[in-house]
């Protein structure tokens, strides 16, 4: 049996950490919210400013949930529905009109959803298992047994599972950390 040791929810300017209010932004739109939360966390990480919104969301959620984590073998299983839609639209806009054609590598690199895994891995130096899944709703049917498998087979010591919605200005992050000990049983009811 494995347990959820920490969990976090970010949406509409609000952060709930382990079910308790952690942060309330004056801004509900993502840009203002992300900036304010970054400042509140007193981070010095210039790479943050280069990230697209999906990566910023995954980065901020991971930053909070991994506070105090000492383990480096943490698998990252991230998911969403729209993949990297925000950056995809931006890159498409750069190439749509042949008269104003200027694809940018700084945008194009974010047109893959698993770049968010790369950003979190770099930040926390996780040389670990990872996977990005796409689904219409959180794929708990697959992530529950897969998480158990990674832990039971010794392929990871902890697993960070996350859902990162970033469509227009509709954003939502739900993440939880699974390990050997914790207050909440890791089962279908608790992860849904």
């Amino acid at each position: 049996m494995y347990y959820i040791s920490q969990y976090i929810q970010l949406q509409a300017g609000t952060v709930l950490f382990n079910g308790n209010p952690f942060f309330q932004s004056e801004h509900s739109e993502f840009k203002g919210f992300a900036k304010e939360l970054y400042q509140k966390l007193e981070l010095q990480y210039p790479k943050f400013y280069k990230m697209d919104n999906l990566c910023k969301l995954a980065f901020l959620a991971s930053e909070i949930i991994l506070q105090g984590n000492q383990e480096s073998d943490v698998a990252l299983l991230f998911s969403n529905q729209e993949a990297s839609l925000g950056s995809d639209l931006q890159h498409q806009a750069h190439i749509q009109d042949p008269e104003q054609y200027y694809p940018s590598p700084a945008v194009f690199v974010y047109t893959l959803p698993n770049i968010s895994i790369g950003e979190v891995s770099i930040r926390h130096q996780f040389k670990s298992e990872s996977m990005f899944l796409l689904a219409d709703a959180y794929p708990s049917t697959y992530l529950l047994p897969y998480t158990q498998y990674l832990l039971a087979s010794g392929k990871a010591k902890k697993v960070l599972c996350g859902w990162f919605r970033m469509q227009d200005d509709n954003y939502e992050a739900c993440c939880y950390l699974v390990e050997k000990e914790g207050p909440i049983a890791h089962e279908t009811q608790t992860i849904e």
């Binding site: 890159h91 694809p103 790369g118 770099i122 996977m131 219409d136 049917t141 498998y149």
Partner: protein, 371 residues
């Protein structure tokens, strides 16, 4: 724990519409790469593109002409012959691997049309899968990761068997991006060669059946790992750390040592940095002297399809006891020496390593064996 086996596969590529045709073309040393102008903005690029007329004829012969986007049709055409032979059960899993899905829809302002889970659902419904499809989008390792994940779900006894589709299209979206990175080769790519100038892009749809039953032609997945470099989002690691660790962990699980590996089918995109990264990782893993092939000189880089495409070719090499020449290679050009396979020939091989690496520092290693 039960074992997972690669059974039959179908490759839809510019080199043919089934795996046997594809393998024959590889044995003959034929490349699908051609100089092509996809749009005035892109100019001339060297790519491996499916012939539209041949593809449409193939769709029609299979009876899929009225179904969805081009990419969905490619996916159906790949999977249909397998399902005709291997009927799905209530507990069968469909895995779809793609980096960009039908991204072409964005050019027509069709945002919904670009959503990958909806496409996966339509394919699953077409074949009447009862389980939700599992969709992996993990850059250029996606197709190989799909095999790794299929093996794990079979080991967990969560599913009876797995049908995988790995697919990506050649689009101005992706070509323009690689062009902006100045990563495209103006000529046929030359993996690991001193004069390599970058990557060529291609397209393919590949389907593969994975189950727990050992059959006459089965190839066992003996070990696997997917480890991130934690180094850079677009540049390969200078130490090859993630790839090295992936190989180590896969070997460990398979209970094998580097000297047990008879053949390596590597990633080999022919960019300077990727190939050097692999050379360093293979050197560290004790595989510098193992015959190594990249298939990018035949197919270009088919992104989310590449890992599965190259893995099922590796399985064919093991079945037929053949190694393939790494097309485009003539002179050593990596920071650590490698043993690049220069000829296509019959050879006794029992165990092979297949690797892939991609943006976000992602790596996958898979060990395939005939036993």
């Amino acid at each position: 724990m039960r074992s997972a086996y690669i059974q039959e596969s179908v490759i839809i590529s510019p080199l043919g519409f089934d795996t046997a045709q594809n393998f024959k073309q590889l044995q003959a040393g034929n490349s699908a790469l051609r100089k092509t102008t996809l749009s005035a903005s892109l100019g001339e690029t060297v790519v491996a593109q499916l012939d539209e007329e041949a593809l449409n004829n193939h769709f029609q012969a299979l009876g899929v002409e009225s179904f969805g986007s081009r990419m969905e049709k490619m996916s159906l055409a790949a999977l249909m012959p397998i399902i005709q032979q291997r009927p799905i059960t209530a507990n069968s899993l469909l895995i779809l691997s793609t980096t960009k899905g039908n991204i072409q829809a964005l050019a027509d302002q069709d945002i919904q049309g670009s959503f990958i889970p909806a496409m996966a659902k339509r394919i699953a419904d077409y074949f009447a899968f009862q389980q939700e499809p599992l969709v992996i989008s993990n850059a250029c390792v996606s197709g190989l990761m799909a095999l790794s994940v299929a093996k794990r779900f079979i080991q967990m006894e969560q599913v009876s068997d797995v049908y995988i589709i790995a697919v990506d299209e050649l689009t101005p979206f992706v070509l323009s991006g690689f062009q902006s990175f100045q990563a495209l080769s103006p000529e046929n790519c030359r993996p690991y060669d001193q004069d390599r100038q970058g990557v060529n892009l291609g397209e393919a749809a590949v389907a593969c059946y994975v189950s727990s039953v050992k059959e006459a032609d089965s190839i066992r997945i003996a070990g696997d790992a997917n480890i991130n470099d934690a180094n850079h989002i677009s540049g390969p690691s200078r130490t090859g750390e993630g790839l090295y660790l992936s190989i180590q962990k896969a070997l460990q699980e398979a209970n094998l040592k580097a000297e047990d590996i008879d053949y390596v089918l590597a990633h080999g995109t022919a960019t300077r940095y990727n190939d050097d990264m692999e050379a360093i990782a293979f050197h560290r893993a004790g595989l510098a002297n193992c015959p190594t092939t990249s298939l990018k000189g035949y197919y270009g880089h088919t992104l989310g399809a590449a890992g599965l495409l190259e893995a099922v070719i590796t399985a064919e090499c093991l079945r037929r006891q053949f190694v393939l020449a790494s097309l485009g290679y003539a002179h050593p050009g990596t920071t650590e020496p490698m043993h690049i396979q220069q000829e296509t020939l019959a050879k006794e091989i029992k165990t092979a390593l297949k690797t892939a690496s991609g943006f976000a520092g992602t790596n996958t290693a898979l060990i395939l064996t005939t036993d």
